[in-house]
């Protein structure tokens, strides 16, 4: 896509804004009412709410949803997983049907405070079981056989740009893969830690953006680096303690990014290692413990920054895992999965439907209950007030996991 010069061309920005306002205005007349958020949108059609941040937590490799949110009363679950099922007594029961993996027990206070939404059976039609392809589908919000170049957040920022004064549209922590921010148009900054980024960013020079499209693109990225480096710093000292280890550091870096006063609309952190084809039990227990510790620290940091009510934390993975355990004490690639949404404005409850273990497909996977793009639509429409249909190319029923 043609690079958009956000630093030096206010006219271009204005054009994008007004062009984007049209479908939004048209949408208001036709959309069903799904809550007060829609009314708010109608009242302020031009206003997006990028002051609210989205923190994506990617559980890379495909976290096993069935052992994350355990259907502990379902005999099918125990018969499919004689070796790796979570024992009923170990499950942290949240309802009379489902409970959390014991490693996630630290999240129970959030659940009690109604700050944790659990999205069940999330997936898409004609699931692709390749890690690479499936995460691409997830990141670009495409159909199973559709190849899109830009990430779904890149498209969101094309429809409605984030404020130009932001440090960046999005910051990707600990991953070279821009995922939902891929594509030329966004100001996406990938970094491992703030200090290192700031050290390296000295190699970038601000130069007026000019020249052919390729040169203009390089200059824009260079300007993005300079802008982000000017706003980010590593000086904020949190009282919150962050867990040791890579994920804890990534969460700490995320908190440092969120501490910058100029804003950023999206932060993504990644925890890897969920591809548990063998000897899953210990590995997943360790990883979920890291997840719980990291999420709790993130909440602490956001409260410290007074941003908990303006933050939405969402976990996701490329797919879930197969209900039937394999002979190696692990699980193979699956479909319908569970996701968590956390934050001060989250309407804590369970949404979607648990995977139906009595309706497995030929390759042993359950049908999905909730299209992942419905979650994106909810975020776009109700978190940021960005018309989801302009971004997703269709209407996906929102999930009411956000408070009005």
């Amino acid at each position: 896509m043609t690079p958009v010069d956000r630093t030096h061309s206010p006219h271009r920005r204005r054009f994008l804004c007004s062009a984007a306002a049209l479908p939004v205005a048209r949408a208001i007349g036709t959309l069903a009412v799904f809550g007060n958020a829609q009314v708010a949108l109608a009242a302020a059609p031009a206003g997006t709410r990028y002051n609210r941040v989205l923190v994506l937590v990617e559980l890379k490799g495909g976290n096993d949803g069935l052992n994350t949110l355990v259907p502990y009363t379902d005999p099918m679950y125990y018969s499919l997983r004689p070796k790796i099922a979570i024992k009923r007594d170990d499950v942290v029961q949240l309802s009379d049907r489902a409970g959390l993996h014991p490693s996630l027990a630290p999240l129970v206070p959030l659940w009690r405070e109604s700050e944790l939404a659990i999205l069940q059976g999330v997936g898409y039609a004609e699931p692709n079981l390749s890690h690479f392809r499936s995460i691409e589908i997830w990141d670009t919000a495409s159909k199973s056989a559709e190849y899109l170049q830009d990430g779904w957040l890149t498209r969101a920022f094309a429809v409605r740009p984030a404020p130009s004064g932001f440090a960046a549209d999005g910051v990707i922590i600990g991953s070279g893969d821009l995922g939902p921010l891929a594509g030329g148009g966004t100001r996406a900054i990938a970094l491992v830690n703030t200090e290192q980024f700031l050290r390296r960013a000295k190699l970038a020079q601000p130069t007026p953006i000019a020249g052919n499209p390729a040169l203009a693109h390089v200059l824009k990225v260079e300007a993005d680096i300079v802008q982000a480096a000017a706003h980010l710093d590593a000086r904020y000292k949190f009282r919150t303690e962050f867990p040791s280890g890579n994920f804890g550091s990534a969460i700490h870096t995320a908190a440092q990014v969120l501490a910058n006063p100029s804003g950023v609309a999206v932060v993504r952190v990644t925890l890897t290692g969920f591809d548990t084809h063998s000897i899953q039990v210990g590995t997943q227990a360790r990883l979920l413990k890291e997840v719980a510790g990291g999420l709790l620290a993130l909440k602490g940091a956001l409260i410290e920054l007074d941003k908990w009510n303006d933050a939405l934390v969402l976990t996701y993975a490329e797919f879930g895992r197969r209900p039937k355990e394999n002979i190696s004490g692990g699980t193979d690639h699956g479909t319908a999965n569970v996701q968590f949404a956390l934050g001060g404005r989250v309407a804590g409850a369970m949404y979607g439907a648990p995977p139906d273990l009595s309706r497995l497909s030929g390759d042993g996977n359950p049908p999905y209950a909730l299209d992942f793009r419905s979650i994106y639509a909810t975020i776009l429409d109700h978190w940021w007030s960005v018309d989801s249909r302009a971004v997703l190319g269709g209407r996906f029923a929102p999930v009411p996991f956000l408070k009005a």
């Binding site: 690079p3 890379k60 490799g61 495909g62 390749s130 890690h131 690479f132 392809r133 995460i135 691409e136 990141d139 056989a145 190849y147 170049q149 990707i172 600990g174 991953s175 070279g176 893969d177 821009l178 995922g179 891929a182 594509g183 030329g184 996406a188 990938a190 970094l191 491992v192 290192q196 980024f197 050290r199 390296r200 960013a201 190699l203 970038a204 020079q205 130069t207 020249g211 052919n212 499209p213 390729a214 040169l215 693109h217 390089v218 200059l219 990225v221 260079e222 993005d224 680096i225 982000a228 990644t270 890897t272 290692g273 969920f274 591809d275 063998s278 000897i279 490329e318 002979i327 190696s328």
Partner: protein, 512 residues
Amino acid sequence: MVARTFRFGRMLAVALCTSATVVCAAAAPMGYDDARHLLARTGFGPTDAEVREFAALPRADAVARLLRDVRTVAVTSPPAFTSVAGPLRPPPRDATDAERRAFLQEQIRHGLALRAWWLQEMLATPSPLTERMTLFWHNHFVSSQQKVRIARLMYGQNALLRAHALGNFGTLLHAAAKDPAMLVYLDSAQNRRGQPNENFAREVMELFTAGEGKYTEADIKEAARAFTGWSVNRETGEYLFRPGAHDHGNKTVLGQSGRFDGDAVLDILLAQSSTAEFITGKLWREFVSPEPEPREVKRIAQAFRSSNYDIKVALRGVLLSDAFWVRGNRGTLVKSPIEFVVGTLRQLEIPPPNGLPFAVLAAGMGQNLFSPPNVKGWPGGNAWIDANTLLARKQFVDRLARADEASQPMTAVAAPESPSAGPSRAPTPFFVADDQKARFQRLAREADRGLRSVNFDAAAWLAARSGATRTDKEYAAQALLLALPPQAPPRSGDDALTFIRATMQDPVYQLK
């Protein structure tokens, strides 16, 4: 910079051309800038000596020479494992964890050796165009070790792509379709009579030949039936046709009906004018500019198709098009990470003792050889450059230009994250395994050692540029390294290292 680049060559050309400009454009020596452009676009960053040699040739002669000198085999010896024939031995279904791990680790080792070797071949080859076209086809007939796993098959595919890199496209298409790595990558072995798998049939139409929108879903379903029975012989690692799995019935593909087999469908696809145009358009974006000119593409594609798909005909058409040479199209393409890394080593005349660290660095910039992100290949173009990859590139040249100085390890950020799964786009780590992170850290250290193992004498390099004065030498260095005038010209009179570093930090250095 136009006015101050290699003035001697240009003056000579002007002197020869004053009376008969038109004739002379074809027959006169093309001069330094044109030669640099041609070699930068068809190879990896040319050296000064190469540019001077070509500067004395007229454009058409230079293109003819590039096409004459192409190779069909590598000049360097591939890793030893590639010569082992015999059965493919992926772990059986009931393999133990230890067996799986051992297999995986062996394939990872082989895969790394393969990357190191190809990168060395790119540095060593007397025909960089051969390797550029091999890489072009690698990104066209895509397979990835992430899925194929067996490095020997990836090597076999690489050798095949090189053998036909500038040969006949029809022959290449038929061979690539039956290539074992491709058969694994696009699930051909799962495509059986009565249970068709459409993966290959879809991609061969959409990505390898006619292009999107030139066929229907029904064509895909019918073609998939024609490809049934194509398989890999696990005992030999070679293509095997399984007649029992083939659907011998009637099929209708793109309006033609018959008891087609896979080869017949490929011939139908080759008969489509859209196939020649699709390939020509892709060559245009690789070599000329991001925006193909439809009339020119049509013209070149016609010649390509009438030649029965001689790839040299298409490439000659592209390289001798007016658009290839116009000033406005110079510096309009982004160097791929491989071009960036290999080109930098070539232009600074740094022969690395081992290719692997540099393959790792290129992977950190988003191009992991033998592991394109998906069947569409690396998207390329402007998508090569994001904040992370740009800083990885800048850090690389910064470190290289001060290879004799101690400094911070550079690869920590350049190294992509290391999921057990691997990402879908952008910096692709080496493939699947649980101990990914540890492995990547080892590779990052290796990349670091690789950078420390090279020596670059900036003063000697700059002194070797042409020109009588230091200023002349600086101009000559810029004329060699940059496709366009620098955005932030370095201060003249800085020490040689500072000058070269600043030139390579210039945004224009990302372009070709």
